[in-house]
Structures are given as structure tokens and as C-alpha cells.
Symmetry: C2
Subunit: 118 residues, 2 copies
DNA sequence: GTGCGTGTTAAATAATCACTTAACGACGAG
DNA sequence: CTCGTCGTTAAGTGATTATTTAACACGCAC
């Protein structure tokens, strides 16, 4: 069981970018930032960028956006909106679900799907 | 059906504070801010304060912290942490649950409780 | 009418976030 | 040997967030 350190945001971006043979300047242009900035972000000298840039990066590098945002220490604004719309219910649900195993959560998500259909 | 405007953060704080006969300066001291600041916050001339102050206000005014944070356009950092710990699962769960009625969500929350006990 | 307690006004500040600009050093191709 | 491309370095900027300071005006109590 990989009980290891989690890879940093910057390290992941650099690795995946290089794996796709995308240059630093090219990538910077794609996400709408300066090459310098991206360089520092990739080496974790700067904090991860704002949400929209993280999302663009996720798309380019074919990563899950929520996962990458988490690595960037962010929560997608649409999730925040969902919580704000019904704070008590969502807060209580999240705090309960937190204590469940991944399998139990998956099971619960299926139940939610069912409820939606009915 | 109260299809009305939602009360602002500031308005709620002022109303509840006055209901409890707490002075502006007194309350400001309790939350660790200047009276001036609180005055402007209560009249929505300034945006709601940072998370920790909102939480103190919630405690003083006996409001639900998550609810008050939502009114302050914030999500409690502990909820953000829960999401960041398992971004994919939690994102997917939230996006599904969003489409359910309050009753369905409540039902699901009970299921989660059960799962926890087992 | 002086002094205290209330809330209010305008201006300024401090901190943090999210970046950019300009210049530099190393490397391989022509 | 110089040119283009690579990533890097240090410094600075612009916007936003979160808040403070000092001064003021009103009502009530003595």
C-alpha cells in the first residue's frame, strides 16, 4: 500500500507536461500565463494558480479536474455553490460521509443515483 | 411559500445582535474586530468577515455556523478539507445529491448514518 | 450643558493572491 | 560562433481581501 508522500501540484504538472512533450512556453500560452510563472509553479516556488487555470491544465493534461484542484488546495467553485445552496444538509452529509470507507461512500453514491431516477 | 429575498449577512447579524441586547462595541470586542468594522459589515457596506470571525459570530448569536458561513458566501474550511481528502468521490456525490429534493437528501443522510454504525 | 454611550463616516493600511517583466545561462543546430 | 529554444532568476506590480484609525453626530443622564 503506497503509504508515501503525495506528489505536489507542481511536480505532477511538470511530469505530465513533459510526458506529453509540451514545452513550458507552449503550455504557458495555452493556459494564458507567462512561462516564468508556470516554471515557478511547477517547481512549487509559487503556489498553484487560480481555479480557471488549474482547470485548463487539467484538460490539457487529461487529469481529473477535482483531483487536480484538490492538489492545488482548492475546491471547485461549483461544489462550493452546491454547499452554499443547502449548507446544513450538505455539511451534515459531508461530515457523516467522511467517516465511511471508500466502498461505503461508493455504495451511498449509487443509492443517490437511484433516488434521482425515481 | 416565502419566495422572498434572502436576508443579507449583515442584516441578520444586526437583528440577532440587537435581539440579544449586545452593543456594537461589545460584540466587536467579542469577535476581535473594531466597532467601525462591524458597523459597516452589519450594514453590508463591507463584505462579511473572515471565516473565524463568522464562526465566532455564529456562536455568540446561536446560529448554525454552516448556515451563517453560507450567508457570508463561504464554505467552512473543514468541509473543504473533507472534499480535498477524496475529491472525486465527494465531487461526484455532491453533484448527484444536488439534484435531489431535501427529503431525498435527508433520507440519504440517514442511510449514511446507518452505514457508519455497521 | 458636560459627559458618556450609542452607532456612523471617510480615509488609510496591511496582507495576501495571482500573477508579469526583463534579463540570464545552458544547449544543440546550422 | 551566433542563433533559436529551453528553462530559470530576481524583482516588481495590480487586484482584492480584510481590516484599522481618527473623527464625528446623536440621544440620555446628571
Amino acid at each position: 500500500m503506497s503509504r508515501g508522500e503525495k506528489e505536489s501540484f507542481g511536480a505532477l504538472v511538470r511530469r505530465e507536461r513533459e510526458a506529453r512533450k509540451i514545452g513550458l512556453r507552449e503550455m504557458a500560452k495555452m493556459i494564458g500565463a507567462s512561462p516564468t510563472y508556470l516554471s515557478k509553479v511547477e517547481r512549487d516556488e509559487f503556489a498553484p494558480p487560480a481555479e480557471d487555470k488549474v482547470k485548463k491544465i487539467a484538460e490539457i493534461l487529461e487529469q481529473d479536474a477535482d483531483e487536480l484542484l484538490a492538489l492545488a488546495n482548492r475546491v471547485s467553485s461549483d461544489l462550493a455553490e452546491i454547499i452554499k445552496a443547502r449548507p446544513r444538509q450538505m455539511a451534515s452529509l459531508l461530515r457523516t460521509v467522511q467517516r465511511l470507507t471508500p466502498e461505503e461512500v461508493a455504495q451511498l453514491a449509487r443509492k443517490a443515483q437511484q433516488a434521482r431516477k425515481s
